[in-house]
C-alpha cells in the first residue's frame, strides 16, 4: 500500500565502548580470556552486520589537535576529554532497528562490568 522508502535499508550504529583503562589492564589472564571470548561471541552473533571495529590504545597515548588562541591548530598530549573512563574500543554495526543493536550489544563484556559501558550512537543517514 505504501511504497518502500529509500531509507528502509539497514541503519548503521556506532558502539562506543568506554571504561577505566586501569581496570582493563588489571585483568588476570583468565579474566582476559573470558573477556575476549565474549567479544568473539559478539562478533559471531553479529556476523556480517559488523562493518568495522578496533581496540584502541589507552587514552594517555592519544594526541589531540585543537585551535589555539590565534585559531591555528595546536597539538596537545592526551585525549579530548580527560576522564577516568575513556573510549577504549568501537564497533560499527548495521541493524534494522535499535532493539536489534541492544540485543547484540548486551553480549559485550563491557556491559556486565561496573566500570565500563557501551554507548550506542546512530550514524546519520545521508541518502
Amino acid at each position: 500500500m505504501i511504497p518502500t522508502e529509500g531509507n528502509d535499508l539497514m541503519a548503521k550504529y556506532m558502539l562506543l565502548i568506554y571504561g577505566d583503562a586501569a581496570q582493563w589492564e588489571a585483568m588476570t589472564p583468565d579474566e582476559r580470556a573470558a573477556h575476549d571470548a565474549r567479544h568473539a561471541a559478539f562478533r559471531e552473533a553479529a556476523g556480517p552486520r559488523v562493518a568495522g571495529g578496533e581496540e584502541l590504545e589507552f587514552a594517555p597515548n592519544a594526541t589531540t589537535l585543537r585551535a589555539g588562541v590565534t585559531g591555528e591548530p595546536i597539538t596537545t598530549d592526551g585525549p579530548f576529554l580527560e576522564t577516568k573512563e575513556a573510549l577504549g574500543e568501537y564497533y560499527l554495526v548495521e541493524a534494522a532497528d535499535l532493539d536489534e543493536v541492544l540485543r547484540l550489544a548486551a553480549l559485550l563484556p563491557e556491559v556486565h562490568a561496573s566500570h565500563s559501558a557501551v554507548e550506542i550512537r546512530p550514524v546519520v543517514f545521508h541518502g
Binding site: I2, D99, P122
Partner: protein, 413 residues
C-alpha cells in the same frame, strides 16, 4: 452545537483515540503526521456528526477518516519523505482478532515507553499519544510550562526516529524489561493524578482515569502477565476509594476520616478478584503486595478495626522486595504502632529518625506526633506536630495537622 454530538466525540476520544492513532502510525510511519491526521479526524467528527448523526461505530469512522487523510499526505510528500527517517514498522500487518502481539495500541505503548527514552519522556509521550491528552494538559499535570513540555515531546519523537526505536511489541527475550517500564509509567501517571502534589484540584481525574484505562487495556492485551494483573488490581483498589476521599465540602479526607460507605464496592470486588489471581503467581509481584495492602484497607470496616497485623506483615514482605526503602519502613512502623499500641510504634519509628532520606518527610513527624499524643506526652507531641506542619505543603493535610496541634495545646492548658 448539539450536546449529544459533543458527548459522543468526547466519549470516542477517550475510548478510541489510542486505536485511531496507533493504526494511523503504521500507515504514516511518522508520529507527528499520525497525530495530526488523528486530530483532524476528531475535528471532522465535530463538523460532520451534527448533520449525519453519530456513526454506529465511531472508532471505525474516525480510523477511516484519519487513514484517508494520511494517505493523501503520504502520496503528496513521497519525495520529501524519502529523506526523513521513518519509523521502523514490521512488515506483518495484523488487524483486530489477531494475536495481542499484533495490536497497534500495544505497539504504540511499547514505543512510547522504550527504555532508550528517559522516564519523563516516556510519561509525556504516553499521555500525549496513548491517552490523547493535549500538550497543555500534559504540561499542567507536571507543573510545567507548555513550551517546555512541547519541546520534551518533540525531542522524544526525534529520538524515536533517529535511533530507530521500532514500532513493535518486543520479542520474548526483551519483553520482561519492557513490560516493567510500561507498568512503571502507568503507575507513575496514576500516582501523579492521585496525590496531586499542588494545585487547587487534589485529584486529577484525567490522569487517574487515563492510567486505569491503560492498565485495563494492558490486561486485555496481555492477560497472562502476572505484573499487569497485579498493577490493575492496585489501581482499581485505590480508585475504588476516590469518591470517599472528598468530604462534603469537596476537600480531601484522610483515610482515617473517610465515610467508607462511599467507596465503590464494585471496583473493590473487581480489584480483589484480580489480586487473588496475582497473589498465586511466583515470583510475587511488587504491585501484588501493594494491592494486598490496599485491599486490607478497602475491606476494613473502619480505620481502628483495620487488620494491622496483616498490614505490618505485608510491609515486611514489601521491605524485603524493596530493600532500604525508608518509606516502606515508615509505613511498617505505623502499622506496628496501630497493632501493638503507641509505645511500640514509637520504638519502631526510632531507628528512622536518623534516616537522611526522611529528614524532610512530614509523614514521619506526623506519625511520631500521633503516637506521642496517644501516650499523653503532650509537650513532645506539640513539637512533633509543629515540625510536621512545617514540612507539609498539601493544604488539606496542613489543616488536619493544625487541628491536632490545637487539640494538644488545649489539652495541656
Amino acid at each position: 452545537m448539539n450536546d449529544d454530538v459533543v458527548a459522543a466525540v468526547a466519549s470516542a476520544h477517550r475510548r478510541d483515540w489510542a486505536q485511531v492513532l496507533a493504526t494511523t502510525v503504521r500507515l504514516t510511519r511518522n508520529l507527528d503526521l499520525a497525530e495530526e491526521c488523528t486530530q483532524d479526524a476528531y475535528a471532522q467528527a465535530l463538523r460532520v456528526w451534527p448533520e449525519s448523526g453519530v456513526p454506529e461505530r465511531p472508532g471505525a469512522w474516525l480510523s477511516r477518516v484519519a487513514r484517508n487523510r494520511a494517505l493523501d499526505v503520504v502520496r503528496r510528500e513521497t519525495r520529501l519523505r524519502r529523506m526523513l527517517p521513518l519509523l521502523v514498522v514490521d512488515a506483518t500487518t495484523a488487524g483486530p482478532g489477531d494475536d495481542p502481539g499484533g495490536d497497534d495500541r500495544l505497539r504504540l505503548i511499547f514505543t512510547c515507553c522504550h527504555p532508550a527514552l528517559g522516564r519523563e519522556a516516556q510519561v509525556a509521550l504516553t499521555l500525549r499519544l496513548v491517552c490523547g491528552l493535549s500538550t497543555a494538559e500534559v504540561a499542567r499535570a507536571f507543573l510545567m510550562r507548555e513550551p517546555a513540555m512541547a519541546a520534551r515531546i518533540t525531542r522524544a519523537k526525534r529520538k524515536i526516529a533517529a535511533a530507530r526505536i521500532p514500532y513493535r511489541v518486543p520479542a520474548a527475550d526483551q519483553l520482561g524489561e519492557r513490560v516493567g517500564a510500561v507498568l512503571q509509567v502507568v503507575h507513575l501517571i496514576f500516582t501523579t493524578g492521585h496525590t496531586a502534589p499542588a494545585g487547587p484540584a487534589l485529584v486529577r481525574r484525567d490522569l487517574t482515569d487515563g492510567a486505569v484505562d491503560l492498565a485495563r487495556l494492558l490486561r486485555l492485551l496481555m492477560p497472562g502477565d502476572a505484573d499487569v494483573g497485579a498493577l490493575l488490581a492496585l489501581l482499581l483498589l485505590n480508585e475504588a476509594r476516590a469518591d470517599g476521599r472528598r468530604g462534603p465540602d469537596g476537600r480531601l479526607l484522610l483515610l482515617c476520616d473517610q465515610d467508607r460507605s462511599r467507596w465503590d464496592a464494585g471496583l473493590i470486588a473487581e480489584g480483589s478478584a484480580l489480586l487473588t489471581q496475582a497473589l498465586r503467581r511466583r515470583p510475587l509481584s511488587r504491585y501484588a503486595v501493594e494491592a494486598a495492602i490496599a485491599a486490607v484497607h478497602a475491606e476494613a470496616p473502619s480505620w481502628e478495626r483495620t487488620d494491622w497485623t496483616e498490614i505490618a506483615g505485608l510491609y515486611t514482605v514489601l521491605g524485603r522486595m524493596w530493600p532500604g526503602s525508608p518509606v516502606v519502613a515508615l509505613n511498617r512502623a505505623v502499622a506496628i504502632g496501630m497493632r501493638d499500641g503507641p509505645q511500640a510504634g514509637l520504638t519502631a519509628l526510632a531507628p528512622l529518625l536518623d534516616e537522611p532520606a526522611l529528614a524532610t518527610y512530614g509523614y514521619l513527624s506526623a506519625a511520631r506526633a500521633d503516637f506521642l499524643r496517644r501516650l499523653g506526652r503532650r509537650a513532645e507531641a506539640e513539637t512533633a506536630y509543629a515540625e510536621a506542619l512545617a514540612l507539609t505543603g498539601n493544604e488539606v493535610e496542613r489543616d488536619f495537622l493544625a487541628r491536632r496541634l490545637d487539640d494538644v495545646r488545649a489539652a495541656g492548658r
